[in-house]
């Protein structure tokens, strides 16, 4: 007990200047085990510490407190305490002990889920991310937790600000996978299919040494979303995907690949029968909603194909060609597509004719020019970063080892009749 009290006094004394805080951190590290040993009795001491001034000490105490198993009643009080702590703590002190902070926040998320009120955790988690990040391009372990809370509470808009940022630094690869996967799901929920495609693409093509489940699930959704958005399935993974992914992903997602194949044939009846047949498989992956959306997007795809052949068409004709039931339905579909900006057309209600038009955008306006200009600026910063990365990579010893080895074998200037290593 004495040691704990002494520790409290030291925390209160040494939390003012930066150098003091550093020495405090060393003390706390040493005292960590003793704190954990007394975890059950630490609660009253927490009241003596002020989270907005003694953030580091409070963090250590809090972490030791919440270490053990937690009941539902305790969870309620803990949630309040941690939320208050997160909102009032000092970012610089927190960054000195990032793993402790991450552990505390993860426990916070577990408790919030235990109480089945994920909405309570969304705002504090966002604050926690902002305080932990060293820059807005830094992906911490808290990002996927936050997105998970957003998903469970259906609070998609909150996740938007996190998703908009470009990520350049990642702590752990698992964070990136989960972040992009959850981000993709949130985007699907908000129907931002382009963003979802981008995020899921990142998961599928990320470097991985062995296949992991997140990538498999992401690939299934990736196929479905690209069917909805582009009308085509990705036939081959791009060259920069890891070889592990290129070989194994297709085998593990067989039903989806077949769905994509029957989609490309264009017959609605076939695809509906296929979906009925494999309904339980899709349902077990929680993808049935997406599959249904993909099937309905087929009508859109067919109508778009019509714009490439015809200048004007009657609603009855459209209904026949796209296998819809009536001209009324066709009109509804076309109207929806015009509103979404997917086609450019005018409907003449008097004789039921639809006239397809060209894209009226001339790109001559000042706004468009500003848009292009800002894109160029963004590209320039990205290019600088890429060049830096490229240089770093060229100096990597592992790369030099392999590149040097190759060059020696295949340099035809010193062509040797006897090969050094014979590969069959």
């Amino acid at each position: 007990m004495n040691s704990v009290e002494g520790l409290v006094n030291q925390i209160q004394g040494l939390s003012t200047t930066a150098s003091d805080v550093l020495s405090l951190q060393k003390l706390l590290k040493q005292a960590d085990d003793s704190l954990h040993a007394e975890s059950t009795r630490l609660l009253p001491f927490l009241d003596q510490l002020d989270p907005s001034k003694h953030s580091l000490g409070y963090l250590y105490f809090l972490e030791a407190c919440t270490a053990g198993p937690v009941t539902k009643e305790q969870a309620g009080s803990y949630v309040l305490m941690i939320a208050r702590f997160i909102t009032s703590c000092i970012a610089e002190q927190i960054r000195l002990a990032p793993d402790k902070f991450i552990t505390v926040c993860k426990r916070f998320k577990d408790q919030v889920l235990l109480l089945e009120e994920p909405l309570r955790g969304v705002a504090p988690m966002l604050t926690a991310i902002r305080k932990l990040q060293s820059s807005s391009e830094h992906l911490t372990a808290l990002h996927p937790e936050f997105l998970l809370l957003c998903l469970l509470s259906r609070c998609y808009k909150a996740g938007l600000s996190i998703l908009e940022e470009d990520v350049f630094e990642v702590d752990q690869p698992r964070d990136l996978f989960l972040f992009c996967y959850y981000g993709g799901m949130i985007s699907i929920g908000k129907k931002w299919f382009r963003k979802a495609l981008e995020l899921l693409h990142n998961v599928v093509t990320a470097p991985m040494s062995t296949i992991n489940a997140i990538a498999v699930e992401a690939f299934k959704k990736y196929i479905l979303v690209s069917l909805i958005h582009h009308g085509q399935s990705p036939t081959n993974l791009p060259k920069y995907a890891s070889s592990v992914a290129q070989r194994n992903l297709k085998n593990l997602c067989q039903p989806y690949i077949e769905l994509a194949n029957s989609y490309s044939n264009g017959k609605i009846a076939d695809i509906e029968t296929y979906v009925e047949a494999n309904k339980d498989k899709f349902e077990s992956d929680n993808n049935l909603g997406l599959v249904k959306q993909a099937v309905s997007s087929m009508y859109k795809r067919n109508i778009q194909r019509l714009t490439q052949t015809y200048l004007t068409l009657s609603l009855q004709d459209i209904a026949n060609r796209v296998q819809l039931n009536s001209p009324k339905e066709a009109e509804m579909h076309v109207l929806q597509m015009i509103k979404d900006g997917e086609i450019y057309a005018t409907i003449n209600q008097k004789d039921g004719m639809v006239r397809f038009l060209e894209d009226p955008e001339q790109y001559k306006t000042c706004e468009m020019i500003e848009h292009i200009d800002s894109s160029i600026q963004r590209l320039m910063t990205l290019s600088k970063k890429l060049n830096g990365l490229d240089e770093l990579m060229s100096c990597d010893p592992l790369y030099l080892l392999k590149a040097g080895r190759e060059r020696q074998r295949f340099d035809f200037d010193d062509f040797d009749n006897v090969p050094q290593r014979f590969n069959i």
């Binding site: 070889s243 790109y363 200009d373 990205l382 490229d390 392999k402 190759e406």
Partner: protein
Amino acid sequence: MASSSSSGLTFKLHPLVIVNISDHYTRVKSQLNLPPSLTSTSSAATSNNNNNNSNGGENNQQKPPRVYGCVIGVQRGRTVEIFNSFELIYDPSTRSLDRSFLEKKQELYKKVFPHFYVLGWYSTGSDAQESDMHFHKALMDINESPLYVLLNPAINPAQKDLPVTIYESELHVIDGVPQLIFVRSSYTIETVEAERISVDHVAHLKPSGGSAATQLAAQLTGIHSAIKMLNSRIRVVHQYLVGMQKGDIPCESSLLRQVSSLLRRLPAIESEKFQDDLLMEYKDTLLITYLAMFTNCSSTMNELVDKFNTAYDRHSRRGGRTAFI
């Protein structure tokens, strides 16, 4: 031997002459092949043709060669304009000038440029020398008062002016003996548009590897500095007007009139069609730049990914380079 000339003639030199002299000198020097470790015999072998050096092999290594030639141009009243030049073979040790060659050249040039006369001669070196006076006197039967254009081939990066000097000859009484001595004259550089373009082209080709990118960068830098200068001048005028408005500077109506007339000249064109076309062109340029940046970025990205895959992918496919044939 140099003091400023008192003849009152104005000299105008065209850059073509300077380029010609420098080209002649460089050609001779490089054909001479002057490495310091060259032995005397081999240098004697190479120094046979196309050099105007007085002595034999050994001297070639110490002294850079001197080249000689004639300059031609027009004299109108008090203005002497030097347009062109051609080379001559002259041996200062024997002082033999190839007269027939000189006359033939003169005739040829007369056919093409009937107005041009031989105005003088040129040579390379750091300073005018006594021995040059002989050549000078030799030319005096063609032109009673020839010019001597001297180019200093030593490259001095600190020097801002051109290393070209023009000398005239004057009769001075020194120690009771009337002698011809060289006196320096000032000159200006005069160009025609075509000359300016080609000289500009030559000047920008040479330095720093001279790739197309450098040329483009140089041109854009030129435009950029011009715009910067315009910007700073406008700022000065603006500051002046603000000061006048506040009352710090006394009002001067003539200046104000000039400023207002300047302002009234802009905008030069104002119409909707012009705005349209301008935006179209601007957009096109921006899109091309965007495309160029994109390609650049994509290629860097591609290289990066290739390197990454080579380094870290355990079972990387090497794209067909598996079996060793």
